[in-house]
């Protein structure tokens, strides 16, 4: 069953005629995703290797019944496409774009939340449900395999590292998603934990966190109160110096808070298995599942 995206998901790509939009739309389709259309204003009638392009999301949804959108639009103009997708009825919006001004994200998020939709990201590699052959993102499909573990991560390539290890250890994934590396993002750890809690296919969860903010601490609180499935976690940035943005806009220790140590402490305190050595996550999870 998985969460967020499955074999019934009908996906459009906003920004499909751009280089990244085209490349990844085709890669998703190759994986098995139902890529039903794309949107680039002014290019309706064109196709991208057979995928129809529309002028507006409204038109695309009307013609294709799309309910998921993946956005590859440059940061300076990325707020409007999110709003457009919500307005057109899209349920799950995956915003790959990095570099969006946080106030723009916050503004779009207000509308997304008001309308009861889901925003994944921004600055995310996307979401994939291997058992459903549905990939809405830029992650390499080949490292995934279907199985019982949900993966929620603030990272991109670090997520792939963990997923690859899980697969090599014989542990498949129900759904993997990247929350995004920005300080303000749509779905949170808690949002996803709730969905995984209610997903019968998911037996355990892996959290991949990093410095900055308090999302992991909040997740720990939630796990203590409302989550009974086993959880393993890795938190990146133990050695990060304070005050420096470590690549991700949201990965910054400011005023002493947001340290890896505080997150690790919070998670360990509620029974989460926190892994110290990134290279051992796969083995630890395999053992955890018994």
């Amino acid at each position: 069953m998985a969460i967020l995206v499955n074999k019934e998901s009908r996906v459009i790509c906003q920004g499909i005629t751009g280089r990244n939009g085209t490349f990844h739309s085709l890669a998703c389709r190759d994986y098995g995703t139902k890529m039903v259309g794309g949107v680039t204003p002014g290019k309706e009638g064109e196709t991208v290797d057979g995928i129809p392009v529309f002028n507006t999301v409204w038109k695309a949804v009307r013609e294709t019944g799309a309910d998921v959108s993946i956005i590859f639009i440059p940061a300076a103009h990325a707020r409007d496409p999110i709003l457009e997708a919500v307005d057109a009825g899209i349920q799950v919006i995956v915003c790959i774009t990095e570099g969006i001004p946080p106030l723009d994200t916050a503004s779009a998020l207000h509308t997304v939340r008001n309308e009861g939709r889901r925003l994944i990201g921004p600055n995310t590699p996307g979401v994939i449900s291997p058992g459903e052959k549905c990939k809405v993102g830029i992650m390499p499909g080949y490292i995934h395999k279907p199985g019982p573990v949900g993966v929620i991560s603030r990272s991109g390539t670090l997520t792939y590292e963990v997923v690859d290890q899980l697969t090599r250890n014989g542990v498949g994934q129900s759904t993997c998603l990247g929350l995004g590396g920005d300080p303000v993002v749509g779905l949170s750890f808690i949002d996803c934990l709730k969905m995984f809690r209610d997903d019968p296919e998911t037996e355990a969860v892996v959290l991949i966190g990093e410095i900055g903010g308090s999302a992991e601490e909040q997740a720990a609180e939630f796990i203590k109160r409302e989550f009974n499935k086993p959880v393993a976690a890795y938190v990146a940035g133990r050695g990060a110096p304070p005050g420096k943005r470590m690549g991700h806009a949201g990965a910054i220790i400011s005023g002493g808070s947001g340290t890896a140590q505080s997150k690790i402490q919070a998670l360990t305190g509620v029974g989460v298995t926190v892994v110290d050595n990134i290279a051992q996550v796969g083995a630890v999870v395999r053992k955890m599942l018994g």
Partner: protein, 387 residues
């Protein structure tokens, strides 16, 4: 991008917030003249650096006109200021703010941030100003009041008023506080800030004055505020970090001797942690981006080759899109251009691995390709120790 205190104060003053009388000086003699012109009993000299903790670091001096202002100004201007936030190498003092000293009846904290969880612009205020907000947050969080602005309506007047009257029951003071709070919010939103803070905001003889000010601009939004770019002070930023960013790389200098090149910020942080776990010391954080190009890899490798502290290079790349032959070409090109070598340990997961391996072998460079991340990290730590 951060602004200096004096720049932040100018922004506030433009919008009607009272600041102490004063001016920025760049020479000791200027400071003397500026001090005399203030015609007050005492003046304060404040080093302009992008850092807090300036007082403890010796960057702030309160003097009377009878004191040797010139020598003190020369002393502060001439050195690199080391504070608990700058790191041991400190930062050069860009200027000296010479201000009148005014009596303090009350110290207040006011700051504006974008709350990450709620996604709302949030104003925080406390009647316990003057101390580090983080300390207050830890020790007496009940003394910090917050209001969250509505994402569409913005900050309503009643919200600013509500905060103001919690900070002071004096009507005249509260009205001024209301204005300051509104201005801080307006600046935050108008300039896409990550932080706007006055600590302390003081009450002096019934007048509300910003004794210190901090404005940090969000890097992601700078593109739409080109006029603010001229406020950038490059002397306050690590030049290598800045130039790397211009090349599309994320680079942060650390203390060790193992140079790192990784694709992806989270994986880069995890790589540093793994090296430390095995007893090594990373020289830097470097993210070449999820789908690095040959140029990006060459630029990254050049940075490490130029860094005299680096003894060994660790390349950790995981990318379905990144081709290993592209990686190899980038590394080899940089090495040839610099005309010097560093031993490299590479752990690469991606496409075209065989082609990459072949290129490395033919290049004659010392490159160990280790498939296991743990083994690769252990090896690089061993090699660094052996150098």
């Amino acid at each position: 991008m951060n602004l200096h205190e004096y720049q932040s104060k100018e922004l506030l003053a433009q919008k009607g917030v009272a600041i102490p009388r004063g001016s920025v000086c760049y020479e000791p003699l200027e400071a003397v003249i500026a001090a005399r012109q203030l015609k007050t009993d005492k003046v304060v000299l404040k080093a302009q650096v992008h850092s807090g903790g300036r007082g403890k670091g010796g960057g702030v001096a309160v003097l009377s006109l009878a004191d040797d202002i010139r020598s003190r100004a020369a002393e502060i201007l001439g050195k690199r200021l080391v504070t608990n936030q700058t790191g041991p190498e400190g930062k050069p003092v860009s200027g000296l703010l010479v201000e009148e000293v005014i009596p303090i009846d009350q110290e207040i904290y006011v700051g504006v941030v974008l709350d990450r969880i709620s996604g709302k612009v949030t104003v925080m205020a406390s009647p316990e100003g003057g101390m580090e907000i983080e300390t207050l947050a830890r020790e007496a969080p009940e003394k910090i009041f917050t209001v969250a602005a509505h994402p569409v309506r913005g900050l309503s007047p009643f919200q600013a008023r509500q905060l103001a009257y919690r900070l002071s029951e004096d009507k005249a003071v509260a009205r001024q506080l209301e204005k300051v709070i509104t201005v801080l919010y307006d600046i935050f939103v108008e300039y896409d800030c990550s932080l706007v803070e006055i600590n302390p905001l003081i009450v002096s003889g019934g007048k509300v004055v910003a004794l210190d000010a901090k404005v940090n601009l969000d890097d992601n939004a700078l593109f739409r505020h080109p006029e603010l770019e001229k406020l950038r002070d490059r002397s306050q930023e690590d030049s290598l970090e800045l130039s790397a960013r211009m090349d599309g790389l994320s680079y942060i200098r650390l203390d060790g001797d193992i140079g790192c090149i990784v694709n992806g910020a989270g994986l880069a942080m995890a790589t540093l942690d793994l090296i430390s776990l095995h007893g090594g010391s990373p020289a830097n954080f470097l993210d070449v981006g999820g789908g690095a190009s040959e140029q990006a890899v060459a630029d990254a490798m050049s940075i490490l080759l130029d860094d005299k502290r680096v003894k060994v290079v660790f390349i950790n790349i995981f990318g379905g899109i990144l081709r290993c032959d592209v990686l190899a070409r980038g590394v080899i090109r940089a090495t040839r251009e610099r005309g010097l070598q560093l031993p490299v340990v590479a752990r690469i997961e991606g496409t075209n691995i065989e082609e990459g391996r072949r290129l490395f072998e033919e290049s004659g460079l010392s490159i160990a390709m280790i498939p296991s991340l743990d083994d690769a990290a252990k090896l690089v730590v061993e090699k660094a120790a052996a150098c």
